[in-house]
């Protein structure tokens, strides 16, 4: 099945800093999502982005499907951005269920 790898595994930043989270996947995809898991365990949808670029406030994401990676950008980080960020991908062929990466744990220090 498809392999999904995220980097870095951990990231500690000062409030106000910018960050880039990366998601590599091993096959061509027709579904790619980014989620934020808050400290209470809930997974919040950030982006549904199998290709192209999207922006939502301080967050933006870019998926380069031909190069098999996606990037999540967080600008002007706030303490509420802390948590674990997961990407999940569905390959064009093969089993038809999203595969999750192992996540990037982001900690924003005041």
């Amino acid at each position: 099945g498809i392999q999904v790898e995220q980097s870095p595994p951990d990231l500690i930043l000062q409030e106000g800093a910018n960050s880039t989270l990366r998601c590599n996947f091993s096959d061509s995809v027709n579904n790619l999502q980014w989620f934020h898991q808050n400290p209470w365990g809930q997974l919040i949808n950030l982006f549904y982005i199998p290709s192209g670029t999207k922006q939502n406030g301080r967050l933006s994401a870019t998926t380069v499907a031909t190069e098999r990676y996606s990037l999540l950008y967080i600008s002007s980080s706030q303490t509420t951005d802390s948590g674990v960020y997961f990407c999940a991908a569905l390959a064009n062929f093969g089993n038809e269920k999203l595969t999750f990466g192992t996540g990037t744990r982001l900690t924003i220090i005041p």
Binding site: Q33, G41, I44, F86, L90, E96, K97
Partner: protein, 115 residues
């Protein structure tokens, strides 16, 4: 925004008890899923359904069972809970027709502790 609800949010129970985790969605999604996640770790799919009367096992073997009698309801049952079942259980649903997965939306999760 998604409307998918899980109860209970937190449950502490003794070994050998039967438990049912409830999951309901009001979006009319045909596809529903259960994931299991240990704290800070990746998510593992344990059950999914493509519609009423459809249930399939996921990638991670689980002693739990599910049912899908109504489109909006996808409960998960453990007949005899054990400490190894301690985990967070996340329910999700997705839009889109056919077998391909559309955008996935999650409930708030049920955190189970078995003593």
């Amino acid at each position: 925004e998604a409307d998918i609800y899980q109860t209970p949010r937190y449950l502490v129970i003794g070994t050998g008890k039967k438990i049912t985790l409830e999951c309901s969605q009001t979006m009319g999604h045909d596809k529903m899923y259960w994931y299991q996640q240990d704290p800070g770790m990746e998510l593992h799919l344990i059950h999914y359904s493509y519609g009423v009367n459809s249930t399939e096992k996921g990638d991670l073997s689980s002693e739990s069972t599910v049912s899908r009698i109504r489109t909006e309801h996808f409960p998960l049952t453990l007949e005899s809970a054990r400490p190894s079942h301690t985990s967070q259980y996340l329910c999700a649903s997705s839009e889109g027709a056919g077998p391909l997965t559309g955008e996935l939306f999650f409930g708030e999760g049920s955190r189970l502790t078995v003593l």
